[in-house]
Each structure stands twice: as structure tokens, then as C-alpha cells.
Subunit: 235 residues, 2 copies
């Protein structure tokens, strides 16, 4: 461990996959709709459009566009691909907002409560503020502050997001730690001088698509879940 828990003041959390189970939540809701496609496959197809859609914003091809609207662009194409044409506009809008209704991982609430007792905990998510607020209210996520790419008008992994968190709290970057299940996100944060905590979420993409959760020495912490991180940080 290269960093003392006292040197860190703010924990900034990736949300989709790290705090909430997007894959399982979407699969369950889509299965319940009986659309003729497996919920698991639908969830994977939807999420596959996520990085390319944000890249269109990051490259400047699209002006600033919220995740709710990017999700809708991708959803329309996924529905077309599976030949699903019978949903009303209202039903499609409701389905699009399943991202506001994602369930936390089973360890999340305990982990966040413990970490909040010692640190300021905030989100740093590409999800928009309305989405993150609705999610937190429904699931009881006890954020001290909800921060989003929407505040910075930059998507992760743009440096403006990581440095933006430090700026908002008027802290040097090394007093902020990103907590995430995604190695690229952590590497980008570390390149900006933030601390990094890797949370292993092997099942983020479902049981049939295990994720690389190997330890990387570049990260300051490696934890199996949020309570494990809390224990390592003395919370």
C-alpha cells in the first residue's frame, strides 16, 4: 500500500458496474417484458453502444449530449436490431430510464455507509445528474455529493472530470481517490495524480462473460468489494 488512509479526503466513485449492477438489473427488467430476446443479451447489446456513443461526444462529432439521450439513441437501434416494433413511445421512454432504476450490488450500502463515516463520498459518473439522483433516491445510496460528467461537460476518461473533482473540493489531486471496477478509468485518474482503488466486480457483464480482475501494482488499493475497501481504509 503506497498511500496512507489519512492522506485521502474524498472518495469519488464510478457508478455503473462499480456501485450498481447494470447487467443484472436490465436483464431482469427486459426478461419481465417478454420481448422475445434474452434480457442478458439485450443488456450486453445496449451497453456495447455506450463507449462508441460517448466517443462521438468526446471527439466533437456530437455536441454535449447526456447519457439519457445517448442511451435512447442506442436503445432505438437495439430495438430495431431485434425487430421489436410493438412498444409505445411511453413504454420505450420508460425502458430507457431503467438506468435510473439499477440495483446496487449486495455489499454496496454497507460499504458506502462505512466509507462515508471517514470520507466525503461522491459519484464521478458519466451518468447525468437526474439519472444519478433518481438512482440514489430509489436505492438509498448515501452520497455526500453527486458529481457527473454533466457538471464538467466532459466524459471520463477526459482529465477535466478527474481534476474537476479535486477542483470542486479545492484539494490537490492526490487527496482524491477514484474507486472503480474499470482499469482504464483508474489508469486515467492516476495519470491526473488521483489515488486509485480497484474493486473487483467479476460478474459485471454476467456469469458468462467474466472480467479481468487481476491485481495491478499501479493501483493503490485492490478490494473485492466496498466493505473490503472500507476495512483496508480503517473504516
Amino acid at each position: 500500500m503506497s498511500v496512507s488512509p489519512d492522506e485521502v479526503k474524498v472518495l469519488a466513485f464510478d457508478v455503473f458496474g462499480t456501485v450498481v449492477d447494470w447487467h443484472g438489473s436490465i436483464a431482469r427488467e427486459v426478461d419481465a417484458m417478454r420481448l422475445g430476446v434474452s434480457g442478458e443479451r439485450f443488456a450486453i447489446a445496449w451497453r456495447a453502444g455506450y463507449l462508441p456513443a460517448m466517443e462521438r461526444v468526446r471527439s466533437g462529432e456530437l455536441g454535449w449530449t447526456r447519457i439519457d439521450d445517448l442511451h435512447r439513441l442506442i436503445l432505438d437501434s437495439v430495438l430495431a436490431r431485434y425487430g421489436i416494433t410493438h412498444l409505445s413511445a411511453g413504454e420505450i421512454d420508460h425502458l430507457n430510464k431503467v438506468w435510473h432504476r439499477l440495483d446496487p450490488w449486495p455489499d454496496t450500502l454497507e460499504g458506502l455507509r462505512r466509507l462515508k463515516s471517514r470520507y466525503t463520498i461522491c459519484t464521478l459518473s458519466n451518468g447525468n445528474l437526474g439519472l444519478l439522483t433518481n438512482m440514489a433516491k430509489r436505492a438509498g445510496l448515501p452520497w455526500d455529493l453527486i458529481l457527473s460528467a454533466e457538471v464538467f461537460h466532459h466524459y471520463k476518461p477526459d482529465p477535466e472530470t478527474y481534476l474537476g473533482v479535486a477542483g470542486i473540493f479545492d484539494l490537490p489531486p492526490d487527496q482524491v481517490m477514484l474507486v472503480a471496477a474499470h482499469k482504464e478509468d483508474l489508469h486515467a485518474a492516476a495519470a491526473c495524480g488521483l489515488r486509485s482503488a480497484f474493486i473487483t466486480r467479476a460478474l459485471e457483464f454476467g456469469a458468462s462473460r467474466p472480467v479481468d480482475i487481476s491485481r495491478e501494482p499501479a493501483f493503490d488499493f485492490h478490494a473485492t468489494d466496498l466493505p473490503d475497501l472500507a476495512s483496508q481504509l480503517g473504516c
Copy 2:
């Protein structure tokens, strides 16, 4: 009453004076420092610089500047006016952050808890995000979302702030209600199509400077405190 409680989805709160007692909190802390000036007078002098300082930003004379930094500019001039020259840089920084340590009014926590049970509750404050986060964490203010002029790079009463809240939740303005102890703030919100709830805080400027708390028919609600508003809204 011109609006049904069901038509409103989001309550956006002014903070300084409406939710927390800036005058009493600053007066107490300054009195404890024994600076040779009454805490009450010091608080009034500091606050008197607030609107003119924001006006320098709103007019474009200053680029975007956070309240923490505007507070510091005003503080330096107030210290000079009272001939207070013995404080260290660290002591002045600490005093400047008294705005992060303001105490809620005695009714605030009960009122917010009740209102949160039915509505999404957020701040809409000219205070910066770090200030509002530290304040909420210390005082236990249970915001669903902390919003600030800092997100919009506009200070109230610019329309971008009121309309910004509606935009973030993807709602028409009349489904958002501003809750505030300041009539100008409520009139500006109403001019943007938001609903308005006036909270009477007669002692905002201290017992010797009572505030105009007369009823105005233009406002949708008139409440003596936050629990009174909760009762009127059926919470």
C-alpha cells in the same frame, strides 16, 4: 392555493437564510474569536458585500468566481475596516470557511425529512458545491441532489439557474418549486415558470433587523417554517 401538491415533483431550496442561520452561526463564531467587534455586526458587514460581489460576476466585470473566493474578498475588506490585523493566513482561511459550518434552523431537519418523503429535494444556492457538501455533511442535511450556481456558471437571480434545475430533471418549470426566504429570489423563479414557496425567516438578519415577511399573493405557498410547508403539501 393555486397549485396542487401532486403537480410538483422537485423542491429546490435556497440555502443561506432559508435552510441555515448564517447570521447566528457567524455571530457566534466571531464572538468566540474575541476580535474586538461584535459577531452580529461582523456578520452583517460580511453579508452586505455578498450581493455587490455577485453582481460583479453577473455583470461580467469578474469572470466566474466561486462564493468561497467572493467571501474571501469581502472578508479581507471587513477585517481591514475593523482594523483586525493579527490573524494568520491559516486563521483567516478557517474563518472564511465558517460558511461551510452554518447551523440549520431548529425546524430544518424535520422539515427536510418530511418533504423528502414525497419530493425530490435539492439545493439551488449561490454557494459553491464544496461549501454546500461540507455544510450538508456536518449538519446532516439529507439532500437528494446538491445544485449550485457553480453548475450553471450563473448566479441567482439569473434565469439559467431556475431553468437549469428543471432541465436537469427533464421537467417543465412548473413541476419545480423554489423554496426560499427571499422574495426577490421567488419572484425571479416565478418569472421563469417555477412554483414558489415563501418561508418566513423573520430573524434572518438578527433580532434587531426584522425582515419583511408579509404575505404576497403571487407566491403559491406561504409557510412559517419547513414543517409548516410539509403539512401544507401533505407530507
